[in-house]
Amino acid sequence: MASTGSTDGKNPDPTGSGRRWPLWEVFVRARRGLSHVHAGSLHAPDAEMALRNARDLYTRRGEGVSLWVVRSSDIEASTPDERDSFFDPAADKIYRHPTFYDVPEGVEHL
């Protein structure tokens, strides 16, 4: 076990503990029919406590009906460096959008 909390006053680390709870990202479903949306992050020692902390921190005013928590370090994200190669190629595929197509006058429900 690493150091416990007892500091002798000379410890340069005033937290009294060199250990840290990991960071978790919190996703809240505001109401049924909606997706979970990222709400923020918090620290917790494990997933069970992270869920509970999320409940107390992010749904104090009835903001949610369901919660997800994910270890921040488990999230893989695209980097800004990849932005051009990831997202720009999608910009010119205008035929993916319905407005690309001409519809003869009078044709409905299309």
Partner: protein
Amino acid sequence: MYGNDFGGDQHTRHEPDRPHDDRAFTALLAGEGRVEPRDDMPEGYRKTLVRQIAQHAHSEIIGMQPEGNWISRAPSLRRKAILMAKVQDEAGHGLYLYAAAETLGVDRADLVDQLHSGRQKYSSIFNYPTLTWADVGAIGWLVDGAAITNQVPLCRCSYGPYARAMVRVCKEESFHQRQGFEILYTLSHGTPSQKAMAQDAVNRYWWPSLMMFGPPDDDSPNSAQSMAWGIKRFSNDELRQRFVDMTVPQAQALGLTLPDPDLRWNDERGGYDYGEIDFTELFEVIRGNGPCNTERMAHKRAAHQAGAWARDAAEAYAEKHARRTESVA
């Protein structure tokens, strides 16, 4: 709320070897675009934000103490419930802000260490004592009022996570200022001794509240850069004026006076003139010589140290059970 990017350990660490493209950054700001966590940004911008967001978070957390001082003594159960909820909100707001700071690649624990060791500051207003119940009202009305005046423009701050945290904080804080006003209104329409208590609190909190906006513009070295970066939208003096103009009529509605003989409407400027602020006091308080600096820090450090065994236990338990789960699988 911090949307679309994450403050994970390895992902958002600042990468100093990546070349910084100042033109792209300037163009982004010029187009009122939002900077997001993993974007390329000038080191100065990042450092300024880390410092500002951390100190904002520290202020919320230390700010729990002066009002927390009255939870046990609140004069009615309704007031006790409101105050508990409000002080709890401050803890929540501190957490939202720490989370925003963590998107910039710093650890909350490090920021808290810097608070504990005095390397990072918090708002000097929380170094004033809450001597009477009316002080709880004065903090809600004046201190939260000043904070909201500061925070509303921050909802449009160029750094996305900070702006989003501020949106949430401002939404939740709308009740804080009202409950403070309500406390003072009730006191000033109560018994003579209640009214005297309210007036005394306003007398003591008025000038420190004005100081919350920081030094005057011509003595505020970092402001211009923060404005250019879109972190700050209005100058200290502009925000202070806005607060004074908003507060004077409210004081009249309360039936209380503000302790400034020079306070009067200036028709030409379309705002209230006010007396000179004694900034030497502000600097003394920042330097650590305010009435409660020592107590606030001692309280915070003591709580953190007293809780170390519980934090360690939770972490040890998590490790043990992660191992057990693995060995079962």
